[in-house]
């Protein structure tokens, strides 16, 4: 990329919702595409891994347009004066954004200047064994089994699994053979108060009539482990039609006649393909310029996105009620048990257990229900050049469900939405090892613990940035179980996620930030040095072009990935707009400044 070492000058960055544009220079580094504004020296940097698609539009009088869509929903529109430069950038990026092996991912080259011990400590931050102990497992009814120690029974499950005391090895192995991908029923959450368990698995290979005695015994064992209830709920999170269709392929769902003491229930969450299309439609609608209110609302409805979000929350509420009110154990599955099952189990646990609503607890929850139980992050998030039909915003939906709950229960969560947004950012950045690969076995093969860093350690070190000032531990004590309303108007469009980088869409001042700023100022030490090192909210570190190294430090201490949401006192600065156009007349742009964190660490 030596061609770009000096940068492509006179590039224009167009705002996608107004007629504004900024001039600057475009640089390409090994990991980032960086646009540095001429006037302010502010920069916008885009990690190559974040680029979802790249489009070179036909040449115009002012130059060659290049449109980049990112996985964090940033959309940038450059106009490069010379077509040749544009083509060079385009083809270089194309090569960069389709990695074929994990080793090419950023995590393997990212170096935050930590020694091996610090790195190892980072990985030890989350300990799932300790988490099961916290839930009260193992106990007289549930035990740790070593049946999957070598990933022999199920290669997409973790090594350590918890099963009922009465589930013998033959039962487990038999059951796993009767379940799609060998994903037999295992414990994921234990509700100590009622001794009720949340278990997860994949669909049974029942076809039209097949049955499996071991699998039936397995469910029996789960039932017996709970003395509070005479039956187990089996929640099939799919729409009934999908489950029926699966029977023709030798899969399907549990026949209530063959399993004693189960109550079977469909909850109707759509599959990954429906979700992918839904998000695409949503992004299309909200990306429209001069969108009318009517088109917006019609679009919100027809894309179905909020309906899907509500379906997931509804399912989690069903699970929570069954466990906390009825004291029944619940077995949750979908098809393979790694998408909808992960959504419902983790969201249900979040509703039941205040621990998961803390910063640390939320990390544990993701580690447990998503990472360790084999949500296919690599496929779903398109980490390597692969099958585009496997890509789906399942984890994004989970984060959004959590956000919807934080809106309903502003005091119940230790973290603010910036925490969710930051996690989302890094699920796609491939900067940390946590989310690489599709399952634990693969992660071990990649030696991620040895070769990459853990996101959790980084987020923990930045914890102050993600605190929710309204959080009240007393509230959590008095409301251990959250009972959200599912009336449709409680589900809102998550502007800060899908328009995170569209500054013009956002409130110009933020209550959250103001309060956090006030709080921070409570400790008036070390505040008055204007050249203090301020953590930039920037999401990633990168090599900066040499000419940029002497920049002033970034100006904000608050977490806003990519620099959206600076509390801005007025929009009055900046260029005007001709009368006749409605809306905002313009405002001072403030993207994140220098990536000071990156600088400090390099």
């Amino acid at each position: 990329w030596s061609h770009f070492a000096t940068g492509v000058e006179q590039v224009r960055l167009l705002d996608r919702f107004s007629n504004k544009s900024t001039n600057g220079t475009l640089y390409l580094t090994a990991t980032h595409l960086i646009f540095v504004e001429n006037s302010s020296n502010n920069s916008t940097s885009i990690l190559h891994h974040h680029i979802a698609s790249l489009e070179k539009l036909s040449l115009t009088t002012t130059g060659c347009p290049l449109v980049i869509q990112c996985r964090n929903f940033r959309v940038v529109h450059f106009v490069v004066p010379r077509e040749r430069d544009c083509h060079d950038i385009y083809s270089s990026l194309l090569r960069l954004l389709r990695p074929v092996s994990y080793e090419e991912l950023y995590a393997f080259s990212y170096n935050p200047k930590q020694n091996d011990q610090q790195r190892e400590e980072g990985w030890q931050l989350i300990d799932l064994g300790a988490e099961f102990e916290r839930m009260g497992v193992p106990c007289d009814q549930w035990q740790l089994t070593d049946v999957n120690r070598d990933y022999k029974v199920c290669e997409t499950y973790p090594r350590d699994l918890y099963v009922p005391i009465t589930a013998s090895k033959p039962i487990i192995v038999g059951s796993s053979k009767f379940r799609s991908k060998g994903r037999f029923p295992v414990l994921t959450y234990f509700y100590q108060e009622k001794k009720a368990a949340v278990c997860r698995c994949s669909q049974p290979l029942s076809g039209f009539s097949a049955r499996c005695l071991e699998d039936e015994s397995m469910l029996q064992a789960i039932s017996k482990a709970n003395h509070n209830s005479r039956f187990v709920y089996v929640m099939d999170t799919r729409p009934k039609l999908n489950a029926l269709a699966n029977r023709a392929a030798g899969k399907g769902y549990e026949n209530e006649d063959n399993y004693s003491n189960i109550r079977f229930q469909f909850v109707g969450i759509e599959n990954i393909h429906v979700m992918r299309t839904s998000l695409q439609k949503l992004l299309e609608v909200i990306g429209t310029r001069s969108l009318s209110m009517s088109d917006y609302l019609v679009g919100l409805e027809s894309c179905g996105w909020l309906r899907h979000i509500k379906a997931i929350v509804d399912a989690a509420i069903f699970l929570t009620k069954a466990v906390t009110v009825e004291g029944a154990s619940v077995l949750v599955h979908c098809s393979d048990g790694w998408d909808r099952t992960a959504q419902v189990c983790s969201l249900g646990a979040l509703l039941m257990d205040p621990y998961y609503r803390t910063i640390k607890g939320f990390m544990v929850l993701i580690e447990k229900d998503w990472i360790s139980f084999g949500h296919k992050f690599a496929d779903r998030c398109d980490q390597l050049d692969g099958d585009s039909k496997e890509v789906s915003p399942i984890f994004t939906q989970f984060l959004e469900c959590v956000w919807q709950l934080t809106e309903q229960f502003p005091q119940a969560f230790e973290f603010s939405e910036w925490f969710l947004l930051q996690i989302h950012e890094h699920v796609h950045s491939c900067q940390y090892g946590n989310f690489l690969g599709n399952n634990q076995r693969q992660r071990e093969e990649l030696q991620l613990r040895e070769r990459t860093h853990s996101l959790w350690a980084y987020l923990m070190s930045e914890k102050d940035n993600y605190l929710n000032p309204f959080y009240s531990p007393a509230y959590s004590e008095s409301h251990p179980v959250l009972e959200p309303s599912t009336l449709p108007y409680h589900f809102k469009f998550w502007r800060n996620m899908y328009h995170q980088f569209d500054r013009s869409m956002h409130p110009r001042q933020s209550i959250l930030k103001t309060i956090l700023t006030l709080r921070e100022n409570k400790a008036p030490t070390a505040r008055c040095d204007p050249h203090r090192n301020i953590r930039s909210p920037c999401t990633s570190s990168h090599q900066r072009p040499a000419l940029q190294l002497e920049r002033a430090p970034a100006t904000s201490r608050l977490p806003h990935p990519g620099g959206a949401h600076q509390p801005q006192r007025s929009a009055a600065a900046g260029g005007g707009r001709r009368a006749g156009g409605g809306g905002r007349g313009g405002h001072g742009e403030h993207r994140h400044g220098a990536d000071s964190r990156g600088q400090q660490r390099h």
Partner: protein
């Protein structure tokens, strides 16, 4: 007339009150001339005091010998009262119906209400036009205060004193009044100190189909232009609607006769359309079907959010003409008493930091709504639940408040008042113990002797304990123009009004209150610590 004649049954025991998401209360129901009261006669149980004038509609239901009445209020609350005894129930219901639909203004509660608080400042004198003019005089000498309307004869819906260009005499004003709808000749609405540009408002010009013109009208509005400058006329109606108005004697300013003005048409809906929209929105909000598609499609079909967007967009346009283009603006629709006022008042919120203070906002409501002749009594006679055929009712003022709330949400630190002030104004515009929103114009208020016979809402608001309740703890004076985003994604449903009576938003209120206290503590801390303050301002400057 005696109220006693209307009260068939003054008191019933054993009445059960149901409110959504709240425990039921059993007690004695009493009817007075102005209130429906339910008291459990026990300590620490709250009593219900409901103004009859707050009741929008009432329905009866019978199950056996127990009758229920469902009371739907103008503030959008719905309650149910179970009344033992069929006769009692019928009596209560018909009494309440009669008492809540009294036609005579002088029988309204404000004429009977005696304040239980000490009036520190009489609100009736707090916002006199002559005082507002003194502020103007300190900035410019190009305007004068005319008494041409002192007996309300030139324009019945204007106040006795109006600000007009200095060079235009009263005779000219009288002639112009005959050329404008309801005599509403162009008057000063706002003076932009920063560049001396002005915003004026008026009724539509009565050009009719044959293009009548009025030299005095042209002279008047041209007198507000600086030499060589052009101005903008913002007609709040679409060009089609404005064209159609010609057939009824109305119309708009032609380019030929007003060459120094550029006319822009926007499409803010008329009153009856807005009322329909409110009814649909409230209906959508009470839908219990739990279907996302149904909710979104009903929300869309109500068009409420579209109205909010259109009004805000027009206000932004007016503000841009003044602040960005450096041009003066004349705003009118048809009568100049509804959409015109929405636009002029919102533009001032955007442009003028003074309007974002508690007192400044009161002044704005007083100037741009009450004295400007918004017909509150007609517009707020009924709300969303009324069964009677709408006459002049329309949520014009509520839409204005909604738009202010949208801006407040986008600039939560730039307003001295909190959302509760807006909700309070909504409530009192529809039903109140105070006289402020009675009548349709200054003339009517004078005729009713409201300042002598009733208490002003402002007298109540401007007391320390009330002000504290309405204050936004995050307020930090912002002297700049604030441009709201009008993208549909940036505009929200005003839950504080439309979803107010359900539990979840109550839970949010609690959190909000806590956060308010939280930030009050923090800001108290902040003011104590000048050192910190300095640092904060450094930080803020860095962000600008």
């Amino acid at each position: 007339m005696e109220f006693a004649e209307l009260i068939k049954t003054p008191r019933v025991d054993g009445v059960v009150l149901h409110r959504p998401f709240m425990p039921t209360v059993e007690g004695t129901l009493c009817l007075t001339g102005h209130h429906l009261i339910l008291s459990s006669r026990q300590d620490n149980t709250e009593e219900l005091w409901l103004l009859h004038s707050n009741i929008d509609s009432i329905e009866k239901r019978f199950v056996g010998s127990v009758g229920s009445i469902i009371v739907k209020c103008k503030d959008l609350r719905v309650i149910q009262l179970d009344i033992p005894g069929m006769e009692e129930c019928l009596n209560i219901s018909s009494s309440v119906e009669a008492l809540s639909t009294l036609d005579s203004v002088s029988l309204m509660y404000p004429f009977f209400y005696r304040p239980m608080f000490e009036v520190i400042e009489d609100g009736w004198n707090s916002f006199l036009p002559e005082d507002a003019f003194k502020d103007l005089e300190s900035m410019t000498d190009e305007w004068r205060l005319s008494e041409v309307n002192k007996d309300f004869s030139v324009c019945p819906s204007y106040p006795p004193l109006v600000a007009v260009p200095k060079d235009v005499d009263d005779d000219t004003l009288r002639k112009v009044a005959t050329f404008r709808h309801s005599g509403r000749f162009p008057v000063l609405s706002y003076y932009h100190k920063k560049n001396g540009m002005v915003m004026m408002r008026a009724g539509q010009p009565l050009t009719g189909t044959n293009g009548r013109r009025c030299k005095e009208d042209e002279k008047l509005i041209n007198a507000t232009l600086r030499p060589g400058k052009r101005g903008y006329i913002i007609d709040t109606r679409s060009i089609n609607v404005a064209q159609q108005a010609k057939a009824r004697g109305g119309g708009f300013e032609s380019e030929a006769n007003y060459p120094q003005w550029r006319r822009i048409h926007k499409a803010i809906e008329r009153a009856n359309v807005l009322q329909e929209s409110l009814i649909k929105l409230v209906e959508a909000c009470s839908d219990q079907s739990h279907s996302m598609d149904r909710w979104l499609s009903k929300l869309e079909a109500s068009s409420w959010q579209a109205h909010v967007k259109e009004i805000l967009t027009t206000a932004c346009l007016a503000a841009q003409c003044i602040d960005r283009e450096g041009a003066s603006v004349l705003i009118h629709g048809t009568e100049g008493t509804d959409s015109t006022l929405q636009v002029t008042s919102l533009a001032q919120i955007i442009l003028d930091p003074a309007c974002r203070t508690i007192r400044g906002f009161q002044g704005l409501v007083e100037r741009e709504w009450l004295q400007a002749g918004h017909p509150f009594q007609q517009r707020c006679a009924q709300s969303a639940y009324s069964n009677s055929k709408p006459r002049q009712e329309a949520p014009v003022f509520l839409l204005f408040l909604d738009c202010v709330w949208q801006i407040l949400r986008q600039f939560p630190c730039s307003f001295e008042f909190s959302e509760s002030f807006l909700v309070l104004l909504f409530e009192h515009a529809y039903a109140s113990q105070f006289g402020t929103f009675l009548g349709n114009s200054a003339a009517e208020r004078a005729k009713l002797s409201l300042p002598e016979k009733t208490v002003s809402l402002w007298s109540w608001v401007n007391r320390p304990q009330e002000l504290e309740r309405l204050t936004n703890p995050l307020y930090e004076a912002n002297s700049l123009v604030i441009w709201p985003s009008v993208a549909p994604q940036s505009l929200l449903l005003w839950e504080g009004v439309f979803l107010r009576w359900n539990r979840s938003s109550k839970c949010l209120d609690e959190a909000y209150e806590e956060s308010q206290q939280n930030s009050k503590r923090l800001s108290a801390l902040l003011t104590k610590n000048i050192f910190v303050l300095l640092c904060l301002s450094t930080l803020c400057n860095a962000l600008l």
